[in-house]
């Protein structure tokens, strides 16, 4: 056992109250209590986290400082000097990003007859999609409907969501699930084929479908395999570093081969940005559940060509990030744990919130428990955390259920000699999802012609708070919409566009106008976790 004596003492109190908690009913918060909790404890309401953007199409709007720093940054490319005369790839549709949205878009664009190229910064599939554990929503049961799903999404996003986008999400959901089923995604099913589905935070029907707790992984592996089977070309370790325009419309991109350091020019009739999230910017110092490459690159590219952003002042903190052991810090403990009956419990062994409130509310409640109320459990490195009582799931649903329904989680803790079926685990909120992003319409087109955006880097679908299981749904639904729309548009464009970086010259001038220092460069591409001691004596000897 890996727990400290202090933790073990607190754990005894969790065990002592378990039987009582089995039948304890906590009510949902009313709207007034909810707002009060959020305003006092959710990081979105801490003024110091944000600042106003000084340049670009969304000038004057608030965003976390870490985001502002990459939006207000120069390109490594000098637009005056850069040579665009040799075109390395000439395609109909360029898909930037190799996660769930990019793969879905590539498949559907290809189905619509487009000549597609997919490019990605790391390996194809290295994305937040592959890490999504809990599930994918979709109103496909008798007692459910797209309309009921719609209401859950709007309420969860606190009514800020774009109604057209929410409609697209919920109406396309059954079709998206059927598409995945047909491609051979191994969903959890009853013997008669009925999808196993449970609740997630903020759902009024049990519509969370899963593939054990590797749901995103199973989807990603299948989509990637299908792209490979159809021989759709893709290039790895070659992110788009800048978009190209004809002065108005997007006409291609500059790629950067990270291994040879060569630049490559792509001419494309339409471009789909699907670069995903930004957890590796570590807003307000939070750890993150996101993959290594989640650095907001596509947002930066889109912003520079003039595509406006929406809801960039709201970040989703996943309520249950691993808080202990240290090696797992910030990693996702899927919401499915609570969906299956896992309870949040403070150091005294008491519950403090109903477990299936929306994520913003759950996160705020845990933060309040650990800060204002001082009812957290302290870890050796000084973090405060609360218990997630997992053994209660086995009491509720039968012995062995955790290994069966949560194999990834179980294995992850087992590696540190923590048997989550026998003992509770420690959790604290972690940066998980960017609720906002590039403004799109229901066909995923941004405000810039021929530039589309799908998945986490788009904004408006989830308002100010996304529900569990609507992100995997989002990448498939809007990835598919993007693929269709971009291919159809490309088919109407007869002549290839002129390639120019004029927008970058303008953007750089704007940055100089507000005095941004020249050493601030974006996109970031990869975070740097080297110890400063290891980098401060760095000497670059190879030219």
């Amino acid at each position: 056992m890996y727990y400290t004596p202090g933790m073990l003492k607190s754990m005894k109190r969790v065990e002592a109250t378990r039987e009582f908690r089995l039948t304890q009913e906590l009510p949902l918060l009313d709207p007034v209590q909810k707002v009060d909790l959020l305003e006092n404890h959710h990081p979105d309401y801490i003024e110091d986290v944000f600042r106003e953007l000084k340049v670009g199409p969304s000038k004057g709007t608030l965003t976390p400082k870490e985001f502002a720093s990459v939006f207000e940054a120069y390109s490594a490319i000098d637009p005056e000097e850069f040579d665009l005369s040799t075109v390395d790839y000439d395609v109909d549709v360029l898909v930037v990003g190799g996660g769930g949205a990019g793969a879905s878009a590539a498949l559907v664009a290809h189905e619509h007859g487009a000549d597609v190229l997919l490019v990605t910064k790391l390996r194809f599939g290295d994305a937040n999609t592959i890490m999504a554990q809990g599930g994918i929503q979709g109103a496909d049961k008798e007692n459910d409907s797209p309309a009921i799903h719609y209401l859950d999404v709007m309420g969860g996003g606190r009514y800020f969501n774009d109604p057209d986008l929410v409609e697209a999400l919920v109406v396309d959901a059954p079709g998206a699930l059927a598409w995945l089923e047909k491609l051979g995604v191994m969903f959890d099913k009853e013997p008669d084929g009925t999808m196993v589905s449970i609740h997630g935070g903020g759902t009024s029907r049990q519509r969370m479908h899963a593939a054990r707790d590797y749901t995103g992984g199973e989807i990603m592996k299948t989509l990637r395999d299908e792209v490979q089977n159809r021989k759709i070309p893709y290039v790895e370790f070659s992110p788009a570093y800048e978009l190209l325009t004809d002065g108005k419309k997007v006409t291609g991109a500059v790629l950067h081969n990270l291994e040879t350091e060569e630049y490559l020019v792509v001419r494309a009739k339409t471009v789909i940005l699907a670069t995903g999230g930004a957890g590796r910017l570590h807003v307000d110092g939070f750890p993150t559940t996101n993959h290594y490459g989640a650095t907001a690159d596509g947002l930066v590219l889109g912003y520079r060509v003039g595509a406006p952003l929406v809801f960039m002042d709201t970040i989703q903190y996943h309520p249950t990030g691993a808080a202990y052991p240290e090696q797992l810090l910030g990693q996702l403990v899927t919401e499915k744990v609570r969906g299956l009956g896992g309870q949040l419990v403070n150091t005294d062994g008491n519950r403090f919130i109903y477990e299936l409130e929306t994520r913003d509310v759950e996160a705020a409640a845990i933060i309040r428990e650990c800060s204002e109320r001082k009812k957290g459990v302290t870890t050796p490195s000084g973090y405060s955390a609360v218990w997630l009582d997992t053994p209660i799931i086995e009491v509720l649903r039968g012995e062995g259920i955790i290994r069966k329904r949560l194999p990834a989680m179980y294995r992850q803790y087992q590696r540190f000699e923590i048997d989550m079926a026998a003992v509770p685990i420690l959790v604290y909120p972690t940066q998980h999802y960017q609720n906002g992003g590039l403004e799109i319409d229901a066909d995923t087109e941004t405000k810039i012609e021929n530039l589309y955006a799908a998945g986490e880097l788009s904004g408006g679908i989830h308002g100010r708070n996304r529900l569990m299981g609507n992100s995997l749904l989002d990448v498939v639904v809007f990835g598919r919409r993007a693929g269709k729309a971009a291919a159809e548009r490309a088919a109407t464009i007869k002549k290839s566009g002129k390639l120019s970086l004029a927008h970058l010259t303008e953007f750089h001038e704007e940055l100089e106008g507000v005095g941004v220092a020249h050493d601030r460069i974006a996109p970031m591409l990869l975070p740097d976790y080297r110890r400063s001691k290891a980098t401060e004596k760095k000497l670059v000897v190879l030219p």
């Binding site: 797209p146 309420g155 969903f187 009925t194 592996k221 090696q327 294995r411 110890r531």
Partner: protein, 227 residues
């Protein structure tokens, strides 16, 4: 050397790192900045398969760099890519039987049942068991046993019969899910209802509502009891 430090050998080069770090964080501590060999950092993507050997031990062990904690004297190398064979197929044209698998991956005939693949799996999957199941045409079992595979490639790297187990596994899961598991009838019905426009009017009405009207509906909506 301080008590809380360990010496590790990254591809033969020694570095002193804190003892409680994972291999990945220890390498970053030492000054490595990953390009390959680092993906999700949470044991879901298989980018950081690592082979290592402990001091005074001839045995090669495996792990994921993002999960495995360093040990003093550890010799290690990441295997960030494996050039394994993948069959290309149209899932719609296949039949879910052993002939299909043997046609696409005939090399699984060569399995020696040596179990090296199982020992090489950082996910503790019964790799040899599922290859044997695939050989027998028990696709459901192969799909079930291989479910947690991350496609890191370590099994294939160690296989004396040069089988690419992870791609066989993926084929089995797709065949099972596409053809053997019964289709979800309720999903098919709902897709049809959506196509017929059954929900269009209700959604159009909801879309017209203002926040106050929506909130009234939302706050009073009935919630299905969990099971």
């Amino acid at each position: 050397m301080a008590e809380d430090m360990a010496t590790i050998y990254v591809m033969g080069k020694a570095y002193e790192v804190p003892k409680d770090l994972t291999i990945m964080k220890a390498m970053e501590y030492a000054g490595y900045r990953f390009l390959r060999g680092c993906g999700c950092r949470g044991a879901f993507c298989g980018a950081c398969g690592t082979v290592y050997r402990n001091v005074d031990d001839y045995r090669l062990r495996v792990g994921l760099a993002c999960q495995e904690v360093v040990q003093d004297g550890m010799y290690l190398a990441e295997i960030p890519f494996f050039p394994g064979n993948k069959a290309f197929y149209d899932i719609e044209d296949l039949e879910p039987n052993s002939e299909t698998i043997l046609k696409l991956y005939p090399e699984i005939f060569r399995c020696l049942a040596c179990n090296t693949c199982t020992k090489a799996c950082p996910q503790d999957i019964e790799v040899m068991e599922y290859i044997q199941a695939a050989l027998r045409g028990d696709i459901a079992k192969a799909a079930d046993l291989s479910f947690d595979c991350l496609l890191c490639g370590l099994c294939a790297a160690r296989c004396p019969a040069e089988i690419v187990q992870y791609n066989v596994a993926l084929l089995c899961r797709r065949l099972y899910s596409r053809y053997i598991a019964p289709k979800a009838a309720h999903l098919e019905n709902r897709v049809e209802e959506v196509r017929e426009g059954k929900y269009d009017k209700e959604l159009a009405d909801l879309k017209k509502m203002n926040e106050r009207q929506l909130a009234k509906l939302y706050d009073s909506r009935d919630i299905e009891p969990g099971d």
